[in-house]
Symmetry: C2
DNA sequence: GCGTGTGAAACAATTCACAGCG
DNA sequence: CGCTGTGAATTGTTTCACACGC
């Protein structure tokens, strides 16, 4: 079976499977069962099979899944067959870490420009890029076909900047600012807030 | 009603409410309704009321919630009334950003030591700390009552280091390495992987 | 009237268990 | 025989809707 409404949780797990498959490929595995993949990804075998069944039939009964094939199929489903251009707002310590983060390149994501509202930071080199002033935002987004914005700025300015990104054509935002963004429907936002993660763990300690 | 099994999703939302309450307090709000809080936190009013009802009755009928009171109650529930000592492993660009991240201090989390296996990095200053060699890990954890470990290291070494942390008494891990950690039950792990977040957004673009 | 707190209803996600195929 | 793919059963989560108190 293919198509139909795919729950978001299912989509959110596909990257975990992909990651696990990459490690198994490195280790030279050709075939993998849903149990083995589950052990590697931290998910139950039944869940893996159910999740994959939303998108098609990728396994061989009695054998398991071909690592290389399943990997390429998940990449296709997640639209990872081309490189995504991203733009970063915020040239602080986190911004530096993100520009220098190697895993983006290895996974077809590329930060093509860095912006900051602080005039003192504009012009400074950061990795292979140079910090640009906010005025150039829209032009860069449109000229370089940037679809994803990364916010590494304080919560105070995040909403305003996010709106600006969206008005320029950005369709997804990776938000490191600890604030909920209110944007028009259809715009995807992912939140990465270490404090929130820590706080929910604190409950269980 | 108090106690009973609280679902993890509920606990995971409390930090969002707390964050929203902090902003409302800054803006001078004394009272807030579940709808207003929901708008700020990106959650439905009914859900907020249901979530809070797992822990007690915090609101006033016809009025809403007292911002300061609800805030203090959620802090209490999440055990944020004392400071949590954390330890960081990995003195790369991300490690630097984390040590200099101001929001930790403002929320009763504190990185008390940084470790790295690279001899070239040991001894280097990073923020107000100095990078230490891995041998000192256990001693620091026990001497300084460190309960949370942060992994900002490559995936290859994350499992081994995580096991070491756990064997020294760490009870929660904030994991930036893109790999699923297998640890004994009771150890909490939060995963923060920007690539995984980006990949699941890519599906919808 | 307004907004909380909460059972009951609706909906969603996960696990079970087994037919079917290599 | 082993392991996938999948309906059915179970379990979990969210929304509804209304009694109750301010």
């Amino acid at each position: 079976m293919a198509k139909a409404e795919v729950p978001e949780v299912v989509v959110a797990r596909l990257p975990l499977y992909l990651r696990a498959l990459e490690y198994m490929a490195e280790r030279g595995h050709d075939l993998v069962s849903s149990s083995a993949l589950g052990a590697e990804a931290g998910v139950s075998p039944a869940q893996i099979r159910k999740d994959l069944s939303y998108f098609g039939e990728f396994g061989k009964q009695g054998l398991g899944y071909e690592v290389a094939y399943l990997r390429s199929q998940i990449q296709r489903i997640l639209q990872l067959d081309h490189c995504w251009n991203m733009l970063l707002v915020g040239a602080g310590a986190l911004g530096h870490a993100l520009v220098n983060y190697r895993a983006f390149e290895g996974h077809h994501y590329r930060i093509v420009a860095v912006f900051d509202s602080d005039p003192a930071k504009v012009g400074q080199p950061i990795g292979h890029l140079v910090v640009e002033p906010m005025q150039g935002l829209c032009e860069t987004i449109q000229a370089r076909e940037v679809t994803i914005g990364i916010l590494a700025i304080p919560a105070e300015s995040a909403q305003v900047v996010a709106e600006e990104l969206v008005s320029c054509g950005i369709r997804a935002i990776l938000n490191y600012a600890p604030i909920h963004l209110v944007l028009r429907p259809g715009i995807r936002v992912s939140y990465l807030d270490p404090v929130a993660s820590l706080q929910s763990m604190s409950y269980f300690l």
